[in-house]
């Protein structure tokens, strides 16, 4: 089979081709390994050799033989796992994350471990200790973050699909920036065991794929209760490949109050186009209020750093990873952590420690948890009226490397539409809504359209996204070849 056909095929299509005997699993793997080997996006931090990749996938599953790229936040036995941090440089875990075991059990060889923002903290992938990852649409721009590597390798034709994690938008935002599909399931749909923790009450694993059908197929592989994660419950009834072509009878709420300042004209234009598409497909557009969603970023930047500050305390130089000093105990701790963590991680550890420290808990952590309750209530009332809540995925298209690194808050604002949904714990998907020129001009770049649904209504979300995706007919092929040298 011609390489161009393999490159253009979605995960589901490749699986079907293998099942029909049109191509062998070995051919497919060799093709993708050679693509990954020529990564020019710095999308991979570690690449499988042919042998180890073959070992990874058990034959026989419905997706058997379709390789997958794994964000380097998932622990993989015998394979380096760094979370893109210097503090875990060279670390090789003795166990494998539940999600990775599940993809392997479904017959999917692992292509490699993808780049990311260090410990998933960032929205641009510039916070990787191993160098920024580049956007295949324009290598002077960021792929988004923190699952930037996973998004870039899928969009840039270095993997058919990938696993990422989303805490405040880390799947959806890079998917939007790279013109692919990114799904963050309901908190609890997928096990977190083996996923290196950033903010435990928010972290969730999810797929980054070429289309909605692929996202559905991967979600079905990943979801389920895991006895190693007490906060995992799975999705009742499982997930089936979507078939919907219309949106008749479905209502889509638009929180106009949230979609205001700071949004690029091109992004807004694609958003409005998409609303028109929804109406054309029979869906109804309704204005809704999310009165507290405007405070979500503030609440998030208390809660997530607070949880992160304690989750990252285990990197102490005692049992694994970097140890920078052997002089005395305090120096070991302080120098190891000082040298091992990058600036954004230190910033959040400091912020989180401050928010939890004596005398500040009520003013920061306690208050932010209550604001979170308000945001949960906002979505509950919204979903009493509508089936979905829609927004642009991000206020801008992919920005230039270095463009937002000077002021942390500016960077944080790129998650203004994704963070409220994370705090509510509900599922949301980003699908490509077309291309738009960035403010200030330049070549057109992908714009993401975000659809959120009530907790555990992933099937409904996938059906609607699928119908809309068909109508939009986005073509991502311009980036597909660009990922490899």
């Amino acid at each position: 089979m011609a390489d161009m056909q393999l490159l253009a095929a979605s995960g589901a299509e490749t699986a079907a081709q293998i099942a029909a005997g049109e191509v062998s699993a070995d051919e497919v793997l060799d093709f993708w390994l050679s693509r990954a080997a020529n990564d020019r996006l710095n999308g991979y931090l570690w690449k499988s050799g042919p042998e180890s990749a073959r070992e990874g996938g058990a034959p026989g599953g419905p997706l058997s033989g379709v390789p997958i790229a794994i964000k380097d936040i998932f622990c993989t036995e015998g394979v380096p796992t760094t979370a893109a941090s210097r503090i875990l440089g060279g670390y090789v875990p003795p166990y494998t994350a539940t999600s990775v075991s599940k993809t392997a059990a479904a017959g999917m060889p692992m292509l490699g471990k993808t780049n990311m923002d260090e410990f998933a903290m960032g929205s641009s992938n510039e916070n990787s200790a191993y160098g920024a990852c580049l956007n295949p649409w324009d290598t002077e721009r960021v792929p988004g973050g923190s699952s930037g590597g996973s998004a870039a390798v899928v969009a840039g034709g270095l993997a058919p699909w990938a696993l990422g994690t989303d805490t405040g938008g880390s799947i959806r935002q890079p998917a939007g920036f790279c013109g692919i599909v990114g799904l963050k399931p309901t908190y609890g749909a997928i096990s977190r065991y083996g996923m290196i923790a950033f903010a435990s009450s928010l972290d969730q694993c999810g797929p980054l794929t070429r289309n909605v059908t692929d996202a559905a197929l991967l979600l079905e592989v990943l979801q389920g209760r895991d006895e190693m994660d007490t906060t995992s419950v799975g999705i009742e009834g499982g997930i089936k490949a979507p078939t919907a072509e219309r949106l008749d009878g479905m209502t889509f709420g638009v929180p106009r109050g949230l979609i205001g300042e700071g949004i690029e004209a091109g992004v807004l234009a694609r958003f409005e186009d998409t609303l028109i598409r929804i109406a054309e497909l029979g869906g109804e557009i309704v204005d809704i209020e999310l009165p507290h969603a405007g405070h979500a970023i503030s609440a998030y930047y208390v809660l997530a750093p607070a949880e992160a500050s304690t989750n990252l305390s285990r990197y102490d130089g005692v049992r694994y990873g970097l140890r920078s000093s052997d002089e005395d105990l305090l120096s070991m701790y302080e120098l190891t952590r000082e040298e091992g963590f990058g600036p954004e991680v230190k910033r959040r550890i400091m912020l989180g420690t401050y928010a939890l420290s004596s005398g500040y808990y009520d003013a920061y952590y306690g208050r932010a948890q209550k604001v979170r309750t308000r945001i949960v209530e906002d979505f509950d009332s919204a979903f009493a009226k509508v089936d979905f809540v829609v927004t642009p995925t991000s206020p801008t298209v992919a920005f230039r490397l270095g463009e937002k690194t000077a002021d942390p808050w500016t960077m944080y604002l790129s998650d203004v539409f994704t963070v409220p949904i994370s705090l509510a714990g509900i599922p949301a998907i980003s699908i490509p809504a077309g291309l738009a020129e960035p403010d200030g001009g330049g070549p057109e770049l992908p714009v993401g359209f975000q659809i959120a649904a009530p907790a555990f209504s992933e099937q409904k979300l996938i059906e609607a996204s699928h119908a809309l995706e068909q109508a939009i007919g986005f073509d991502g092929s311009a980036a597909l070849e660009g990922g490899a040298r």
Partner: protein, 478 residues
């Protein structure tokens, strides 16, 4: 007039639960194994792992809560307590800070503030630095113990002296041991006790600055440590000084107190709700089970024994050790009409002493069953043998397991019940000992002891003491 000061003491007690596995992972609990052979990704706090609580530990905890007369919380939750130390691999301990599983209890005269579940730290052994680059001192960490389920019991500051702490601590230990949920062995560390100590003027309601006395491995040491610290605090105040908040260690070999940490390094634990765990909500059946499965606990048993006339001290001793209590009740059952007070004294006094004397034998290995002891007690009570003979019969019973009747017969200890024979011996004794006899006649009644001794010697202790006394006095004309 100088002010009198009193000690105010509260305790924090850590009890290791004797589950099969750790609190949050499936590693087996062990004691004395090679280092780091019971670890897994979870208890080593590798990146990406999550805790899963042990159902049995929750159940054991609830039983302890019920035994301490606590209200069992309908909802309890876990929190993270953050501090860096090599024995704390996550750099936070999972504990219950805000909503513990049990609150507001009482054991004996001491109120329980609350009890909570948590995980134990690993073991750090200080070693020399041989081989290390810097050559300085080092510690080695063994994670076998790390993650063992613990119940921490926090009392109100209701205790007033080291001796009271020792006694109450023993009651607590006996209570938990009887539940079968912990070995409560202080030397092995399955029971650990910290004391918060302050002093205040007698009659005052306020609490002075407290110091914390850490982790001593016997109740004797705790008693001595507390007494030393209370004395020190009183001296500081008497000298016009102020007690400083600090953590202390008591060295039982020197009797000295050492400061471990001063307040400038005071911790800021940055507690937060543990986001990896969901609340524990015991079902009504679970709560009922925790309460109804309680055996009769030491405090209740002591009360019951006192009610049937057993002296306070003996009642306490019996009720602390369930096997002694069972033995005692066996004696009462076997000996009809036996006086519980007398029986208790035989069990906790003579029998306990004799077992101790003979190879420190535990009660479980005693050759004297409750029925045999009951027979012996009855023989004494019915004056078939003297109390003194009873003791020597018991000695033989303990060593050979013989029945009391046969020992008495073999050794010819049957009490002299023929008063004619006893009278002859008494008259002979007065004749043989003219000096004390004269002293008694001339008013020195104490001298009668020598004559009693002579009679006992002649009868080899088989005479009834009261009867001997009566006959002597009669023949001396008193």
């Amino acid at each position: 007039m100088s002010t009198e000061y009193e000690a105010v003491i509260g305790l924090e007690i850590h009890v290791q639960l004797s589950t099969r596995t750790k609190m949050f992972c499936g590693c087996e609990l062990s004691f004395g194994d090679e280092p780091n052979v019971h670890t897994c990704p979870v208890c080593l706090a590798l990146p990406g792992v999550l805790p899963v609580p042990n159902e049995k530990a929750v159940q054991y905890a609830l039983q302890i809560g019920a035994a301490l007369g606590c209200e069992l919380s309908p909802v309890s939750t876990f929190d993270r307590k953050n501090y860096f130390y090599p024995d704390n691999p996550k750099a936070y301990q999972i504990t219950q800070a805000t909503y513990p599983f049990a609150v507001n209890g009482r054991l004996g005269e001491v109120r329980i503030h609350h009890a909570h579940l948590e995980e134990d730290a690993a073991k750090t052994i200080h070693t020399g630095g041989g081989g290390r680059i810097s050559g300085s001192d080092a510690s080695e960490v063994d994670f076998n113990r790390g993650g063992t389920p613990l119940v921490e019991i926090v009392t109100e500051p209701d205790l007033r002296s080291g001796a009271q702490v020792r006694e109450w601590g023993q009651l607590l230990r006996a209570t938990i041991r009887q539940l079968g949920v912990s070995d409560v062995n202080m030397e092995e560390g399955s029971l650990r006790c910290d004391a918060n100590i302050s002093v205040r003027p007698v009659g005052s309601d306020e609490l002075g600055t407290k110091t914390e006395l850490k982790n001593m491995n016997s109740f004797r040491f705790i008693e001595r440590g507390i007494e030393a610290e209370v004395t020190r605090q009183k001296e500081v105040i008497a000298a016009g000084g102020e007690v400083e908040q600090e953590t202390l260690h008591f060295d039982p070999s020197t009797g000295e107190l050492h400061s471990l940490r001063s307040k400038e390094e005071a911790h800021d634990y940055r507690y937060l709700p543990e986001p990896d765990l969901v609340p524990v909500v015991p079902s009504p059946e679970t709560l009922e089970m925790a309460k109804s499965s309680l055996p009769e606990l030491p405090a209740a048993r002591a009360r019951r024994y006192e009610e049937i006339g057993v002296s306070g001290q003996a009642a306490l001793l019996l009720s602390f050790e369930v096997e002694w209590a069972e033995y005692f009740e066996g004696v009462l059952e076997a000996g009809t009409g036996i006086d519980p007070r007398v029986a208790a004294n035989w069990v906790t006094g003579e029998l306990a002493a004799e077992l101790r004397r003979q190879d420190d034998r535990p009660l479980a290995e005693s050759k004297v069953g409750p029925a045999a002891l009951a027979t012996l007690i009855n023989m004494v009570a019915e004056k078939k043998i003297s109390h003194g003979s009873g003791k020597s019969v018991l000695e033989e019973m303990v060593s050979s397991g013989a029945e009391p009747e046969s020992v008495v017969a073999e050794q010819g200890l049957e009490q002299i019940s023929d008063s004619g024979e006893l009278e002859r011996i008494v008259i002979q004794a007065i004749e043989d000992n003219p000096k004390p006899a004269e002293q008694v006649r001339s008013g020195n009644e104490k001298a009668i002891g020598a004559l009693v001794g002579a009679v006992m010697k002649a009868t080899q202790g088989r005479a009834d003491g009261g009867e001997v006394n009566r006959l002597l006095r009669q023949h001396l004309g008193l």
